[in-house]
């Protein structure tokens, strides 16, 4: 059990360091309080955490489990069930290509291929320098503008491989996106 305690005390130590220094945990606390620390608020709380931190790591999951009185494995199970949540930090910029049906039959896969080849990054992965993540989604509901992709959360429509590569290049040139974590369109939501 000494090993076990080691792991948990590591997590606890990291967490208390963060709680003292990182204001974003206060926002998370407010969301948890809104759900009265009830277990059915778990998904909303995970959304809030991912919006704040960009991804869900072990100390954060550990914190949420403790606060909502949930088993660790349950929190991990929920966080990994839904595609929207990620346990790994994303790149500074994201290119999210839609492969819904309309985009697929209009050549969305060629956009993925082009970005993959130019930046040597597989779908779902981030470039080694941490600059660019290439992600795939199933339909963002903008089918009549197919094929589409989201560049740092901004929708690009009627794309082809060339225009998509131009958008990626522009995005990387422009430095940090406006939104602090700029991962996903949900960032627009006021909470």
């Amino acid at each position: 059990m000494s090993v076990a305690n080691g792991k948990v005390s590591q997590l606890a130590a990291e967490l208390s360091r963060r709680l003292a220094t990182d204001k974003r945990y206060k926002i998370l606390e407010a969301v948890m309080r809104r759900y009265d620390y009830r277990s059915h608020g778990l998904i909303e709380v995970l959304h809030a955490a991912q919006d704040s931190f960009g991804y869900l790591d072990e100390p954060t999951l550990y914190h949420i489990a403790a606060k909502l009185h949930l088993p660790l494995s349950k929190v991990l199970g929920v966080a990994t069930f839904y595609n929207y949540f990620t346990l790994k930090p994303q790149g500074k910029h994201t290119c999210v290509v839609c492969l819904g049906t309309a985009c697929y039959i209009k050549g969305g896969d060629r956009i993925v291929e082009a970005v993959q080849q130019r930046y040597h990054v597989k779908p779902g992965a981030t470039t080694p320098d941490g600059e660019l993540s290439l992600l795939i989604v199933r339909c963002v509901g903008s089918c009549s503008a197919a094929p589409v992709a989201l560049f740092d959360g901004v929708l690009g429509t009627h794309l082809d491989a060339d225009t998509a590569l131009q958008r990626v290049a522009a995005m990387l040139r422009e430095g940090l996106p406006e939104q602090s974590n700029g991962k996903t369109p949900v960032q627009e939501v006021e909470r």
Partner: protein, 237 residues
């Protein structure tokens, strides 16, 4: 309240709250199961216990479907036998089930089910996923190659032991049994090392370390005993 229904042409009497499975078992009618274990809640996941119910256009899982007065049930038709054969073949092809080198050989519910269902081979291509084995726990091991995701261990850990160390990570074909935040089992802060998950496992996925094929027996009825004892307070009265 007692109800009467017909299973495979046989008149069967059952209690109002009984499931089709319970009613059949009480009447000595065998229905194949895999994710069901007496003492644990039912999830209707493995689909082996699907039965035909007159008046329903869908097949219904016997483990979760409550009986109704006058219900007419068929448990062993040509169609059901065919579907079950496919299901067991899918299961064998999904991960790396090698009975010859498995500690549960001869004491495996999946292996027995294959025999029962007359499986001579799997028509499906084997998927050969690359999966790990967790031997970090001092007494038990978890071999993902042999896991069929029935979640009996998850339910035993949660419902009987109350530790909820185990749950399911990810989803679909990529789902795996996981301990806590994904740390090695041996480092789990919540596991009580009670071994109920091992008792619950139908295959060789969860096992006692160091045991040979002959030694690897499980007393699965213990779980039901605990559940009954607790719910009915057997030790108080």
């Amino acid at each position: 309240m007692a109800r009467t229904l017909t299973i495979n042409g046989q008149m069967v009497s059952a209690r109002d709250e009984d499931t089709i499975l319970r009613a059949a078992q009480d009447a000595g009618i065998h229905i194949p199961v895999l994710c069901h274990l007496d003492g644990l809640s039912d999830v209707g996941a493995c689909r082996f216990c699907l039965v035909e119910v007159a008046g329903s256009n869908r097949l219904l899982p016997a483990c979760t479907t409550r009986i109704q007065e006058g219900m007419v049930v068929q448990t062993d038709t040509e169609q059901l036998r065919n579907y079950r054969r496919h299901l067991i073949e899918l299961l064998f092809a999904e991960r790396n089930h090698v009975c010859a080198v498995c500690v549960a050989n001869g004491n495996c519910e999946m292996q027995s089910l294959a025999i029962q269902l007359g499986m001579t081979h799997s028509r499906y291509d084997y998927m050969f996923p690359s999966l790990g084995v967790d031997l970090s726990h001092e007494r038990f091991g978890l071999d993902h190659n042999r896991c069929i995701m029935c979640t009996r261990c998850v339910r035993a850990c949660d419902e009987i032991e109350g530790a909820h160390t185990l749950d399911v990570f990810g989803r679909g074909a990529k789902a795996r049994i996981v301990t806590d935040l994904g740390m090695p089992w041996g480092e789990s802060p919540t596991c009580t090392s009670c071994g109920k998950c091992v008792m619950a496992c139908p295959t060789g996925a969860l096992f006692k370390q160091g045991s040979t094929v002959a030694e690897m027996t499980r007393d699965r009825s213990k779980l039901n005993f605990l559940k009954t004892a607790r719910e009915e307070r057997k030790w108080i009265v």
